[in-house]
Assembly symmetry: C2
Homo-oligomer: 346 residues x 2
């Protein structure tokens, strides 16, 4: 991985940032730590678009389109509730941008099937989802669809996890091919903005996922948060408070690392836990207090916004229409490379 | 092949017909016999759309977009020159219909990669084009793109060669899946209208193709037609007029079968040739006369139309805009199946 393609520091010059989520469920604390918090930092200083990737969610949820639809609203509520400001960050929905489908169709001519099958992210997800040879064609093509998303916004910086870096490489391959065809720098290549925060585990220590019910949602009521913190996996060998306990793999410490406003105190607690004399309940009470304080204003604002779903969808609609100005201009540029005439009315 | 899916007779009730060509070169006599003549018969009696499939042409001509662009005009000139009447047949260009890309992206979620790889037409063409594992992803996906074309017009009848029947089956599979999802007959299944005419060979007896230079174009000048008829493959064993000659595989007879207005006379000529005493030159002179008479008015009208390419492209543009009314309404229906909201401005 070359250093000029990825970066673990927020950029210093003004960048065009594309980020987004698949609307497969309400967002949880893992999203907050992994992406929402950094979007709040980046907003204003950069041109940031958050894409609600509903079409991509359909690539492996074609049988549950109604859930995907409902979750567009849930995810938008989460954005607004944590403080994403539609005046400074564009929130757009993928299915409202027909240019993305058109770009994808054009890019599919520039990528071979073999190249898609070699994509490490696709390979890993095919295995994870147990698709084998019954991969929906849309799923195989989704790196190309992501390249359409990234390029349609002329994004220069894309916040991703380490495992998503091959997607950006695929997008840049397409950009280089297009720029060669155009004989000029039609579109910019994008760099990956890697998160420095480790992934937040679910309360059982496994990967947080809606289907496992092991995540704490941004909309969970107080009692639910308390119950989930109580069920958190710690160290099964740590039976009495006086016993020495393990910190590594201890979910409570993973959450304290992510959310405790006093890292120095957390280090002291780790040492104390390690040598024995610190009970799980004391730790969990501390974490519960921190999470309640974090989630309370989000939950409150979210509930307020949820009273008027029409207004929230209007915000998304306006963002999508603003986004279309960019995506339509990029499509016109890419069509010209393929010698396709401008479309009447565009 | 079940009989209710295909038909070798022109339909009796009013059908919605989708047909088209990839704009990879000007049309030739093989197209005239294989499709143009039947389009002329069908026009008026049915709702017929001819789609100039420029995006599909790019799936294996991504490196030559300029040729594809120029050939959109060439093909449109051919249509109008043979008598396709834009008041009775809609001529539309694929890249002017963004709904087709959007439908394709949605349908890609309903088809597996394995299913696409099993498609006999795709298999055969992959072999023919020597793609092996370096198939452009767009090429693998093109049965889905064709399904988008067929369904976007609610086509009930699609004139095809025998080898294209699997494409219609793929489209119908998608239609059945959508109709199941919708719980009603959202889109009609299509039947293949098989041509009863055998494929017209090139002048060397091989498959007619622009790259082999073995086809007679509808725009060939008189001397070129004469020269090509003279070079036609007959029977290499038929050295003297008095020798008995072979009729099977004799390209001149294939053309006489296709174009001679007196089939009874052609049968007599075949018998004469077979028993000996009939020279190739006499036959070729007869064929040359017939082809000159057929092509002359087409060439003339084509040259006239070619003086004002803007007017021709306007006809295509108007046809495309008329076509969009249908494709936009189908897309709205299909989006509703996927619970996608109506798009503002549509």
């Amino acid at each position: 991985m070359s250093t000029n393609r990825t970066s673990d520091r927020p950029a210093t010059r003004r960048e065009t940032i594309l980020t987004g989520d698949r609307p497969t469920g309400p967002l949880h604390l893992g999203h907050y730590v992994g992406s929402l918090r950094s979007r709040l930092e980046l907003q204003g200083a950069h041109d940031q678009t958050i894409l609600i990737a509903d079409l991509q969610a359909l690539t492996d949820n074609a049988g549950r389109p109604h859930d995907v639809r409902r979750n567009v609203l849930e995810v938008a509520l989460d954005y607004l509730a944590v403080g994403i400001d539609p005046a400074r960050t564009t929130i757009a929905v993928q299915s409202g941008l027909p240019e993305l489908a058109e770009l994808t169709m054009l890019y599919l001519n520039l990528v071979t099937v073999a190249r898609l099958e070699r994509n490490p992210t696709v390979k890993a997800e095919i295995q994870m989802r147990g698709f084998e040879r019954d991969i929906p064609a849309g799923f195989l093509c989704y790196p190309v669809s992501q390249a359409a998303d990234i390029t349609a916004f002329r994004a220069t910086l894309v916040p991703v996890g380490e495992d998503q870096v091959p997607m950006i490489e695929q997008s840049n391959e397409i950009v280089r091919r297009l720029n060669r065809m155009a004989g000029r720098d039609l579109l910019p290549e994008a760099r990956a903005l890697l998160s420095s925060t480790p992934r937040l585990p679910g309360i059982d220590g496994r990967k947080a996922s809606k289907s496992l019910g092991n995540a704490i949602s941004l909309s969970d009521p107080p009692a639910e948060i308390t119950a989930k913190v109580r069920r958190m996996y710690t160290d099964p060998g740590h039976v009495y408070a006086s016993d020495p306990g393990r910190v590594d793999g201890n979910v409570v410490f993973a959450y304290l690392d992510a959310f405790d406003p006093c890292p120095a105190e957390v280090e002291d607690l780790k040492a104390h836990y390690h040598r024995g004399g610190l009970g799980d309940m004391a730790l969990k009470r501390r974490l519960d207090g921190i999470l309640q304080e974090l989630v309370a204003p989000i939950r409150e604002r979210r509930a307020e916004l949820a009273n008027d779903p029409g207004a929230v969808l209007d915000i998304v609609r306006e963002g999508t229409m603003r986004a279309r100005e960019t995506t339509a201009s990029v499509l016109a540029d890419v069509r010209s490379v393929f010698h396709l005439p401008p479309r009447p009315g565009h």
